[in-house]
């Protein structure tokens, strides 16, 4: 199923990029790393905006670059969303959207104009001049513009990083819907674990121009040997489905194969796939299951491993009964006092669960 194959070697000044990774030909693959890790360079090389000295770029069977060939940018079926929206200031919103659309042969247009405009909520903006849009509106237009070329690979370079928190929160649902409705394989550059948790299925961790880890996002987010777990807002992702609604207490129960957690009531159909995020700092551990606690979500877990992240704190990686992983951050004093060790059976008390999709 690995149908995105990337091998890139290049030197940019004194920065050496030597990246190799495979990603599934569907879903969202996050390229995650700190600034300066080479994420954007990788994305630009995949797009053909930089020409890597040595490289192989193969997307679902099509070779865009190898030893002999180098397909120029404008012949690659990509959609590219830059960090800043980069709309053409001399064109109206509609003309911006049509710029790419009109350059794609009619037979190859698979995404209807109206669908995109509605999905991104920009139908009221069409006649506006681009310089008068807000940051969030601009980025939505830029995403729509890229989608309208019916790309076979969507490349997103931190599309939310230039926006303030409120604008980010309004765009996130659009990005989630995008991935549900159009199913275009995407490479999504980010340095924000929360964005990755919400959007990505697969993940490649980049560090100093190298891919240091790759795999399922839920797995990588909780691996203690990777930088992600040491972030202050380190969290775990759990997949499940909506099992029932509790009308009297206004809760929605998410089933995690044998266990269940409650989230504030959401209007979702029972049986729908659900992804929840649990922050490591919201998980406490106890040796026995307590009934006399205000905490609703208590899950039986087994300790996989632990890691000291500071002089006072320890991160504990836990396996649920169905094999999914959870992170808990507790004090070193508690960890030693409880005698936490690998394989130990415990109860995780989860203070807060966020439903992502």
């Amino acid at each position: 199923m690995s149908s995105i194959e990337i091998r890139l070697k290049h030197r940019f000044g004194d920065f050496e990029m030597d990246v190799a990774f495979d990603a599934p030909g569907q879903g969202v693959t996050a390229l995650f790393g700190r600034s300066g890790s080479g994420k954007t360079s990788v994305l630009r090389a995949v797009a053909g905006l930089e020409r890597a000295r040595q490289g192989l770029v193969r997307i679902n069977g099509e070779v865009w670059q190898d030893g002999e060939r180098f397909l120029p940018v404008h012949r690659r079926p990509i959609g590219y969303v830059f960090q800043e929206a980069s709309l053409f200031p001399h064109l109206s919103v509609r003309k911006n959207l049509e710029y790419g659309l009109h350059r794609v042969a009619e037979g190859q247009r698979q995404i209807p104009f109206q669908d995109v405009v509605e999905l991104l909520g920009i139908s009221s903006l069409l006649t506006r001049a681009t310089p008068r849009l807000s940051g969030g509106e601009r980025q939505r237009v830029a995403i729509a513009r890229a989608l309208l070329t019916s790309p076979r690979l969507l490349l997103m370079d931190e599309p939310l990083s230039a926006l303030d928190h409120a604008a980010k929160q309004t765009i996130m649902p659009y990005l989630e819907r995008l991935h549900d409705e159009f199913a275009i394989p995407s490479l999504y550059v980010s340095h924000d674990p929360n964005e990755v948790a919400r959007l990505a299925d697969h993940m490649v961790v980049l560090d100093a121009g190298r891919a240091t880890a790759q795999g399922e996002a839920a797995q990588l987010l909780t691996r203690l040997d990777l930088p992600l777990s040491t972030y202050d807002d380190a969290s775990a992702l759990l997949e499940g489905f909506v099992s029932s609604h509790d009308h009297s207490y206004h809760l929605t129960w998410i089933s995690l194969q044998g266990n269940r957690v409650a989230v504030p009531r959401e209007d979702l159909p029972v049986g729908r796939h659900a992804r929840v995020q649990i922050q490591a700092r919201d998980v406490s551990l106890s040796i026995r299951a307590h009934a006399d606690t205000s905490i609703l979500n208590i899950l039986p877990v087994r300790v996989i491993d632990t890691r000291d992240i500071s002089l006072t704190q320890v991160l504990v990686r836990l396996a649920l009964e169905d094999g999914q992983t959870l992170l808990s951050r507790i004090t070193r004093r508690s960890a030693i006092g409880m005698g936490i060790h690998e394989g130990m059976q415990l109860y995780a008390q989860v203070k807060s669960v966020a439903l992502l999709s």
């Binding site: 012949r75 990509i78 590219y80 001399h90 350059r103 310089p131």
Partner: protein, 225 residues
């Protein structure tokens, strides 16, 4: 007193021809200078800027030698059946193109550099070929630069004197442009005609520059993000 319009028309013809040619020649040079990292970029920039600092007589002198019947360009034009260029309108155009080159290349280069690579990159990811993105994105966005270049080139060519005198002489209807005509009138103490032409030039130059500033001000305001 009859007013002699011939130098005025000749000057306008020379300035328009030069501006048109220079926009065609200067655009690729400016684009290349704005984009390249070649080691000889600075050397080429210096060559382009030379007419700004050289006395027009120096430029005129070398042009005269180059264009003379036994000079390199002179031999070429003769071989092409165009005769020799000194003391002809064609010679004036040739000289003006070189003399006004920096006035076109520098504003364009500044405009292209200010634009940065991003708009063209975005256009490329939207399937536009290099020529397509230059025509539909770079030129419209660099419009203030083109306008400045055209106006400066036109006005500078109108005001040219030294090079014209060296290479064109003073042949009515062929090379006797405004600046030379004014010089002539002053020499022959015909201050009435000199006043007319000089005041006309002053008014013209002021109008041209003011229009330029007005238009550029409006464009940059409308492109503010």
């Amino acid at each position: 007193m009859t007013f002699d319009w011939q130098p005025v028309w000749l000057t306008l013809k020379l300035a328009s021809t030069t501006t048109l040619l220079l926009l065609i020649i200067g655009t690729p040079i400016a684009w290349w200078l704005a984009r390249t990292h070649a080691w000889y970029k600075q050397a080429l920039s210096a060559v382009v800027a030379l007419p700004l600092v050289l006395p027009p007589t120096v430029l005129g002198f070398y042009l005269l030698i180059m264009l003379a019947p036994d000079g390199p360009v002179g031999q070429l034009t003769q071989a092409l059946g165009m005769g020799t260029l000194p003391f002809t309108f064609g010679g004036l155009v040739f000289a003006s193109v070189l003399y006004s080159l920096p006035f076109v290349v520098q504003p364009l280069q500044n405009a292209f550099e200010a634009l940065g690579p991003r708009p063209a990159e975005v256009a490329a990811t939207l399937r536009a070929s290099p020529w397509d993105r230059f025509m539909t994105v770079v030129i419209p966005l660099a419009r203030p630069g083109f306008l400045t270049a055209a106006v400066l080139c036109f006005a500078h060519t109108v005001g040219e004197f030294g090079v014209v005198l060296m290479i064109g002489g003073n042949i009515p209807g062929e090379t006797r442009v405004l600046s030379v005509a004014i010089y002539d009138y002053v020499e022959t103490l015909d201050y009435g005609q000199a006043h007319l032409l000089a005041a006309g030039m002053l008014a013209f130059s002021f109008l041209v520059l003011m229009t330029l500033y007005l238009v550029n001000g409006r464009i940059s305001r409308s492109h503010q993000p």
